[in-house]
Amino acid sequence: MKSSLIRPALALALAASLAACGGSDKAEFTVAGSVTGIVYDGLVLSNAGVPLKVAPPTTAGSPVRFAFPDKLEYGDTYAVTVTGNPAHQSCEPSVPDGGIYTNNSDTAGRLVTIDVAIACRINTFAIGGTITGLTGAGLVLANGSTGGTYTAATPATPPSTTPITYALPVVAFGTTYGVTVSKQPAGQVCTVVNPTGTMGDAAVTNINVTCVAA
């Protein structure tokens, strides 16, 4: 009785050690990674034509892990691309922490694990419009305290009658803007129409400024 138990146990141990030596087992690699900066729905990543939807994190701001269902064998190549951006965002392969290059495409097995880095950012658009009637020097427009300024060039003499097209630094989707005349031009008073709003999915070009004699 005792010996009959020992024999199968030995056989099992032998089989196990053979398998561990790499008999029929092939190394398998999962194409996985993480996405940072994702806020809105709609991100679709693809590898070899296989799409994978990635949802925003439950805790805002934390990275999202993803893994493609199909496993790769040693030597297979992979190339993870962004085939669908989230609403109001743009995503692209990024440089992982401590890395130098993007790592979205490579050969499985070159590294122990595949950990692709993808980064998303909120889309930004310019805000601006036209300036009409400017004859004095020194006009400065500002978008609040942190949104940047636009300083108009000193008008030629005599001033051109063509409206000047201006743009202030870009504003991210969902962020408010409020353009005011930070410094009035010499001898004139300028007013702004459509000065405030919340950024949508296109550049704002109707923040028009009209200047008249003071």
């Binding site: 609040g144 305290s145 942190t146």
Partner: protein, 195 residues
């Protein structure tokens, strides 16, 4: 004759060797990135040596790459400190500011934050909710409120309080809503709503 040539060249070789071994060659840059420089007065020193004033970048961002005018030598120890700050800077945090030079040192990071001031005001006759903005700073003022506070503003930065959404059934105007922040709080922004 022959031996005097030999002597001279031996002396020259000796001198070259000594220089190569870390005499005072001074050929490495010492610098990095700094933020928060919108006014003159940002003075840095290395090892407590002579003052170096960081030029104010022309684009108004306050972010600049800086390099000490004096080159340092391979194997020199360096210790960069902020000796004095422009009047509108609150504090500076330094990263990788000490070490021993191997190659050009370009990795020093100095992050300075600005002093900020409050931007507040009063509202009169507000019967419904009003939304004010100062650029990206959005503040909802509830019905019946008589005061409001926008986010603090860095000294020397412009501000411009404007109306994003008028209260239902009312129209509001703003007085003293535009300016450049000085060294004191601004508390005189006045919003008047009608009817």
């Amino acid at each position: 004759m022959k031996s005097s040539y030999l002597r001279a060249s031996a002396a020259l070789a000796c001198a070259v060797l000594l220089t190569a071994c870390g005499g005072d060659d001074g050929q490495l840059l010492l610098g990095g990135q700094i933020s928060g420089v919108t006014k003159p007065g940002m003075i840095l020193t290395n090892n407590g040596g002579s003052d170096y004033e960081v030029p104010v970048p022309s684009n108004g961002t306050g972010v600049s790459t800086f390099f000490f005018p004096t080159l340092i030598s391979s194997d020199d120890k360096y210790d960069v400190q902020v000796k004095s700050k422009p009047t509108n800077v609150d504090q500076c945090t330094l990263f990788q500011n000490t070490g021993r030079a191997g190659f050009d040192v370009t990795t020093i990071q100095i992050a300075c934050t600005f002093k900020t001031q409050a931007l507040t005001g009063t509202v009169s006759n507000l019967k419904n909710e009003l939304v004010l903005v100062n650029g990206s700073n959005r503040v909802t003022v509830p019905a019946g409120a008589t005061t409001f506070a926008m986010a603090r503003v860095a000294q020397d930065a412009p501000y411009g309080v404007s109306i994003l959404a008028n209260p239902a059934g009312q129209s509001c105007t703003i007085a003293n809503g535009v300016g450049t922040m000085g060294a004191a709080d601004v508390n005189n922004v006045t919003v008047t709503c009608a009817p």
